[in-house]
Symmetry: C2
Subunit: 553 residues, 2 copies
């Protein structure tokens, strides 16, 4: 069994000129992302990506393409997702890849692909970019889950092309990239029909797929392209994006990577492998910051919030895939909190004025913080003199499992809230992190949380904005002991503990995907019935049939 | 590793005269359930139930005691849950028991204990019985989870007694009986405080437990009893239950049990072990049925809905624990559908009139159907001529993963709805099964679903009340093939599939417990970090410390 993460570090940056699997095309308001997976260009040479099946590398390109459409192509109002292969849209996640992957790799692969699909829905709901899945051929498993993430699904009616979720009957695992949740919760497929559909290897095609709400429309081959183009125009008309560009270019992040650290411009992450901890530090902006749409457009990807959160996002992804044994991440911030608050004010103002670029920057910050919410590592924030836990950067403390703030009357140490804490950076459950924090405590007055001054450590601890506020006598020992104690606990128990406590309050489709569907899939992914020598995932495509332990659990 | 279910079948019926672990006491409106676990009276001789730790047998008695308070003691308005042991309330689920149990046993044990605690909350919300946890000593793990299910938690302040959830730090597993969900979602403990608390072996005592919302009040030993009595009186005053009895007696069900069948008066379950299927049949009432409160009181536990659903509940529990390899349950009904509808009308009318006994019967039906919803077996309902899928019994079809209805114009075959389908038997997500069924399809007119006539197979299939309506030519093959195909699938994939599809729509604390918390616990329960030779659960109390694979997942 290849544990790829132990061998080759994964990088997440790419650009269209080096894409191997996707072809973006632009025609006015319509972008088309065509999947044309190169069989022999998987992340590992151990498998071939036949029939537009995908591995992490394919999804990294998709995520990059979506991100660039947001920032580099503001004139795009609708994205058509289709395939360049004849009679094949997408066969889903590559089974040989799954079979050869470690448990941790499978789980993180699924998490990433889920995030990519949720980013599609985020763009549809918040960015004014609608998505049309144009299924020009068979569409199975993860392929159909990609389609489900789109606003509209059109399927060619050629007597052969079907949509299917064959994971359970073929592989003994779940359609785990949101599929089971989306068919019933998003598309409103009846649960008994969904049950039947999800146990059918061959899937459903033609009018029956429409009747059962699995797709929105079917068209014969001869009319398919025209119908897709027509529907794309209709969807594009719904957009509130700019009529034309320019956008801004997302340049490479170019971090300095050593064995013990990844250093970006505003973010650094250093590893203490002996202690299984990392120090993640985010630096506030320095110098004058742009404050008008024109200045921001000119600053482009060097504008601090875009730069810092792109770097943070990249750091979190590298942590997940390349540093599986780092259990605890200690978050710090540095610099001028007033500079963060000034940027927050600029973003909030321009976002509410409808500026497309400010909106995209805020949405990227939001997605990055949600990436942190579902990263299965412990996060402790340390708030010390010289830190910049203000507004959007204070979200890092709110997203942490705990926060410690030094209470030393001799040294200035404040935290600040901004408008960004009150609705622009909501969690997956559609609440702000402040709302989740004070879910049970309606006595925290809103006006207190909206006051303009900073909070001292004792104020913050009293209100409940931080977990603990040790004084200068206790600080070092208390923080050290907390981190050491954490590092001694079972990594699995911590993953379960954090996954349950981080999402107090209501659930949404997004939290159901990560909390319910993903949890069950993780369970199934390590059961002998899937991954044992005779498990369904192991024997698929080999000689022989799976042998199951028939006990239901 | 002892797989108890393979050896000794579990039975779920008991009565106060043979309780080994609980002492019920009645004083006017106040019932006191005192835990006094007999160390040497566990279900297995392999462990000793020290310090009021519990196994399934202890929880079966608790569930029985709660059920009897509902039906046999309508004059009880508040239940105090406490312990007869000095300085010990409850140490939680017995660790030696967990260590020696199979994965399936652990999962089903947790499910049952979760259901018992949710039944406490159901009684508080719907039955007018309030619950007061009087923690007269240490209260750890599952003991604290039992307290969390109560309306009020009072803790003795003796310098020693603490509440704690030490599962993660001590055993490398989760507090899985609702604990992690309830502390944040029910009690509103802040997520960072909950994180800290859930990693503390020693727990929290005294005023800090109140400040952190972990308990409602603390009292010194000298004042504790009086304070509990006073609070019990206050809670009792909130009740709308009768001022006095009589109640009705819950007599033993006395099924006939053979190797291939369990036969009750209105329910039978026969096993085809070679095919790994069971046939579950529920018979409609025969003969005249009581229709006034007096008549029902006189009929007592022989009144059909109470009798039939108690039997169904018992059958489902035996299925879960004693028949792990039975994967598919085929549900049929038999008898006069009009008789079911008549009983439904009686119950609905009396329930809305505030009759306590009708209310309890309806709530028991509701809990039993929810037991079915979270039973990890496939349920297919077969609706054939002579069946009685009407009203409350039609809920069995709605709860099934699929339903097949014979469409033979030559033979009468109808399904009927009643008022019971429209709100009295809600699922754990607080929706009716009809609402979940038509979640995505607002075109189904409510008045159609409320019409008084029966639906033919073609009507039912057209509206979507049944999954499929094969004609007489196809019926036998289609049903047989569906059952055979189901039986061939991975049992784990089916468990995950069903757990995701059955709960379309919103989530509640109850569905979060079964969908999120339980799923993560199941995952952790089979990880080597918990159950491997050096796993935390395995080595607890033995020589040596756990050895973890430090990879986070």
């Amino acid at each position: 069994m290849a544990h790829r993460a132990d061998v080759i570090p994964v990088t997440f940056e790419t650009r269209p000129s080096v894409y191997k699997h996707w072809t973006p095309a632009f025609d006015g308001h319509v972008a088309t992302l065509s999947m044309d997976v190169q069989e022999d260009a998987g992340l590992s040479p151990d498998y071939r990506l036949k029939l537009n099946s995908y591995d992490l590398g394919v999804d990294i390109e998709l995520a990059d393409a979506l991100q660039r459409i947001r920032f580099e192509h503001p004139e795009v109002h609708v994205v058509v997702i289709t395939s360049l292969k004849e009679r094949v849209f997408c066969a889903g996640a590559n089974i040989m890849m799954l079979r050869e992957s470690s448990h941790g790799w499978k789980v993180n692969f699924c998490k990433y692909t889920n995030e990519t699909r949720l980013a599609i829905e985020d763009a549809s709901e918040h960015s004014g970019i609608k998505f049309l899945a144009a299924l020009n051929g068979i569409c199975a498993g993860g392929g159909y889950e990609l389609a489900l993430a789109c606003d509209d699904i059109m399927l060619v009616d050629d007597g052969n092309s079907a949509v299917s979720l064959p994971e359970a009957p073929l592989l003994g695992v779940l359609p785990g990239t949101g599929g089971l949740t989306r068919i019933v919760d998003k598309r409103g497929v009846r649960r008994d029909i969904a049950d039947f559909f999800s146990t059918l290897v061959e899937g459903v095609k033609g009018k029956r797929a429409v009747t059962w709400r699995l797709v929105d429309a079917v068209y014969p081959t001869s009319q398919f392209k025209a119908a897709v183009a027509e529907r794309a125009r209709e969807l594009a008309a719904l957009s509130d994006r700019p009529a034309k560009g320019p956008g801004i270019t997302l340049n490479p992040l170019n971090p300095t990577v050593s064995d013990s650290a990844i250093t970006y411009s505003a973010v650094s992450m250093t590893f203490n492998r002996a202690k299984r901890t990392a120090d993640l530090t985010v630096h506030a902006p320095t110098g004058p910051q742009p404050s008008t749409p024109e200045e921001i457009l000119k600053a482009g990807d060097q504008f601090w919030p875009l730069r810092a959160f792109r770097e943070l996002d990249d750091a979190l992804l590298r942590l997940r895939f390349n540093e599986p044994e780092i259990g605890t991440v200690v978050i710090r911030t540095e610099g001028d909190p007033q500079a963060v608050l000034a940027v927050d004010r600029t973003l909030a103002t321009l976002e509410s004025d409808g500026d497309w670029l400010a909106r995209e920057i805020v949405l990227l910050m939001k997605r990055t913080l949600k990436r942190l919410d579902v990263t299965s590592r412990t996060f402790f924030s340390l708030i010390e003199p010289g830190s910049a836990f203000a507004g959007s950067l204070f979200e890092l403390a709110l997203a942490s499992d705990r926060s410690y703030m030094l209470d030393d009357p001799e040294r200035e140490n404040f935290i600040w809230l901004s408008g960004m804490n009150h609705g622009l950076l909501k969690m997956g459950n559609e609440l702000t992190r402040l709302q989740v924090r004070f879910l049970g405590d309606q006595t925290v007055p809103t006006d207190l949380l909206r006051h303009e001054d900073g909070f001292t450590a004792s104020e913050a601890a009293e209100i409940g904005l931080v977990s603990f506020a040790p004084d200068e006598m206790d600080w070092e020992d208390e923080v050290r002991l907390a981190i050491e104690a954490r590092a001694a606990l079972s990594p699995d128990a911590l993953t379960g503990l954090e996954a349950n406590l981080r999402f107090a309050g209501p659930e949404t489709m997004e939290t159901k995907i990560f909390g319910r569907l993903t949890a069950w899939q993780n369970w199934i992914f390590q059961r002998p019935n899937a991954v044992g020598d005779k498990g369904a995932l192991k024997v698929y495509g080999q000689q022989g049939r799976p042998e199951f332990d028939w006990k239901r659990t």
